[in-house]
């Protein structure tokens, strides 16, 4: 049996490919851009001869997608744009997804699609402080008020849901929280922001929806193998979350010193009001990086549930303490 992984040389992608090679007997086709750095995939190709097939091309090219989905039983769709101008991010996420879905419909209509969405699709700004974000939490009503990444991920998931429902493509939507691990972002925005060399510590005692890279990849494989996973969204977070404060403390202890200024939530709220006023008055002389909506979406304290994922058989193999140790060790060495 052959499976396809888009975004295979990315942060989560290469970990998923490794999990597939170790946990299943599948042949893994990896879709990568021509001329790109294969990164960790090179090592996996060497360690698992004959199990990985590279397919080159851009995902927003329909012919590339047709070639990529030929004889595929499961599609793991991880590719999406992480940065860039808005139009470019939508090209890299939604337009690319549309091409892939069209190819799946025409050439592999019975293939199972495991789509990588994000926690950012939830409309958490409307929730009360301390409320739990689970799969029943309403999806974002104003994605355009969030940052472009959140908007493009929301749009991408909507496209997948509508398309797969319309054309009967079996689908699972995975919504990882903050994926951490070697090669990832050292400190999540949920902890704070680096601004002009100074770290604004905004997260305070908020719980972080962390998921260790390998745990997250395991969840994707479990979702693909278990037929009970179908047509719905699943949160992917680890069992033993820690607070932003604890994360920063451990980072300082194990990696390096960080000069930071703690910014309480209500101060952040006031800063956001000031930024909104300045943005309106100056007609956008500076970008509206802080707004009340963005602040509420990112830093309002919430809790996170992974019950639905666990009920279907996923177990966390790497505890957070171990995951953080590996991550911080890797950051220190780099």
């Amino acid at each position: 049996m052959k499976v396809l992984v888009t975004g295979a040389n990315g942060f989560l992608g290469s970990s998923l490919v490794r999990a597939l090679l170790e946990r299943t007997g599948y042949q893994v086709r990896c879709l990568v851009r021509p001329g790109c750095n294969l990164g960790k995939l090179d090592v996996l190709i060497g360690n698992h001869p004959g199990r990985i097939e590279l397919s080159y091309g851009a995902l927003n090219n329909y012919q590339t997608c047709l070639e990529a989905v030929k004889n595929i039983a499961i599609v793991f769709h991880l590719a999406s744009a992480k940065s860039g101008a808005p139009a470019e991010m939508f090209h890299g996420s939604s337009v690319a997804t549309k091409c892939l879905l069209e190819a799946v419909r025409n050439l592999a209509p019975t293939a199972k699609l495991v789509h990588c969405s994000s926690f950012s699709v939830y409309g958490v700004a409307d929730l009360k402080k301390g409320e739990t974000v689970d799969e029943n939490t309403p999806l974002e009503r104003h994605p355009e008020k969030r940052d472009t990444y959140a908007f493009s991920k929301w749009h991408q998931e909507r496209l997948v849901r509508e398309y797969c429902q319309k054309h009967g493509i079996p689908t699972v939507i995975m919504r990882p929280g903050v994926i951490y691990g070697p090669g990832g972002t050292p400190i999540s925005t949920r902890v704070g922001l680096n601004l002009f060399g100074l770290f604004l510590f905004i997260g305070g005692r908020n719980m972080l929806p962390l998921t260790y890279l390998d745990n997250c990849a395991d969840a994707f494989v479990t979702a693909a193998l278990n037929s009970q996973f179908s047509g719905e969204g699943y949160n992917v977070v680890d069992d033993d979350p820690i607070t932003a404060k604890e994360y920063l403390r451990l980072y300082r202890r194990d990696v390096k010193k960080v000069r930071s200024i703690p910014i309480p939530y209500f101060v952040m709220w006031l800063i956001s009001i000031a930024c909104e006023k300045y943005y309106a008055r100056s007609k956008g002389q500076l970008p509206d990086i802080f707004t009340r909506y963005k602040t509420a979406s990112m830093w309002k304290p919430q809790r996170f549930s992974n019950k639905k994922l666990k009920d279907l058989g996923w177990t966390m193999n790497t505890p957070t303490e171990t995951g953080l140790n590996i991550n911080f060790q890797s950051l220190k060495e780099s």
Partner: protein, 362 residues
């Protein structure tokens, strides 16, 4: 007051700048956007609160009763889209380059003029604060007669658009006759034609790919990223440089006149006039440094004042260009950029492209 009904065709990266600048004006409003990829049109419309978005320009032009259309699509589509907009009774703002070659440029300009409509091109740096200050200095006679112009345009292939070009051999830039240069050197050339009075100056160009050791194995290997040009008119000569490898990425112009040399830096938005040493001997050289420092300090102070007064936007050149273009439509004011200049730049670009990539007959 009549409010112009404006639409955008092509909702890529630059369309954000167009919409945000138009939305600052009281005499115009963006009523619709269009892109052949409906997702891209939708994201722009939703982010900027625009009611209508289309994937067919024909449907949009038929339905919206527009006054002005901004064409922000890849250059190969400009000619036919601009003609379609003019046929629908619209004035057109066309992103640079206006068309794929000189012939198409002349054809489009004539088509618009014959229809009694107005046209402008996206030469926003012609209205950036340093250019405005330069024009003011020239008008006051500070420069004297222009003798030579050096125009430097740096490009960042590691930026978001540059990355997109390098990431895919299917990117539309690779299909332009002049490839990367075709999409960018208008900004280098329009500083030169500002002082050059000739219709057909002498043009010499050569180009290469800096990182030629790295091979993509496809069309990307034929994309040059370094260009040097020498242009000679009857009374003014010029050097034009396009570089993708020099850091920091800069955008500079230096104009040499019979009375002074004027230095423009578009990144820091500073202008400095060098009138030479005014004191004798070593003291003259000493004072000259302070004189320059004083001029940069004054430029920075002026910029700070503008920032304080909310008049220091990233796309201020585009904002002023659009404002002047709409003024030409509503009040019959002169066009912000003469059609003669548009056509002359297309002629020079054809010469450059022919010399570095072969004859431009697209």
């Amino acid at each position: 007051m009549k409010k112009l009904r404006v639409a955008i065709i092509g909702c890529g990266q630059i369309a954000d700048g167009h919409v945000s600048e138009i939305q600052k004006l009281k005499n115009a409003s963006v009523v619709a956007v269009c892109d052949t990829e409906i997702i891209i049109a939708e994201q722009l419309a939703v982010r900027f609160g625009i009611d209508k978005y289309y994937e067919s320009h024909v449907e949009m032009l038929d339905s919206e009763e527009l006054d002005v259309v901004h064409i922000c699509t890849p250059p190969g589509t400009h000619l036919f889209l601009a003609k379609a907009a003019v046929d629908a009774g619209c004035h057109v703002y066309v992103e640079k380059p206006l068309a794929l070659n000189y012939q198409d440029t002349v054809e489009l300009v004539q088509y618009v003029l014959d229809a009694g409509k107005k046209i402008t091109i996206g030469h926003l740096s012609e209205f950036d604060p340093p250019t405005l200050e330069l024009r003011d200095l020239v008008k006051k006679g500070v420069l004297g007669d222009p003798v030579h112009v050096e125009s430097w345009y740096g490009y960042n292939l590691s930026g978001s658009f540059g990355k997109a070009i390098l990431a895919s051999p299917d990117h539309w830039v690779h299909r332009l006759p002049g490839k990367l240069f075709h999409n960018n050197i208008n900004h280098m050339l329009n500083k030169i034609t500002e002082f050059l009075d000739d219709e057909e100056p002498e043009v010499h160009a050569f180009a290469w790919r800096k990182d030629s050791d790295h091979s993509f194995g496809d069309v990307r290997d034929t994309m040059y990223d370094e260009l040097r040009t020498v242009i000679r008119g009857k009374s003014v000569s010029a050097y034009g440089t396009f570089s993708s490898s020099v850091r920091p990425v800069g955008h500079y112009v230096r104009v040499f006149g019979t009375k002074s040399i004027i230095d423009l830096d578009y990144t820091s938005r500073t202008v400095a006039v060098d009138r030479g040493a005014t004191y004798p001997s070593a003291i003259g050289r000493l004072i000259a440094g302070y004189h320059k420092a004083w001029q940069y300090a004054r430029s920075a102070a002026r910029n700070t004042k503008k920032f304080y007064n909310y008049d220091y936007h990233f796309f201020s050149g585009m904002g002023l260009l659009i404002e002047k273009f709409y003024d030409s439509i509503l009040n019959d004011a002169p066009l912000p950029i003469s059609t003669r200049n548009i056509v002359r730049i297309a002629w020079i670009m054809d010469r450059i492209i022919a010399q570095v990539h072969g004859e431009n007959k697209s």
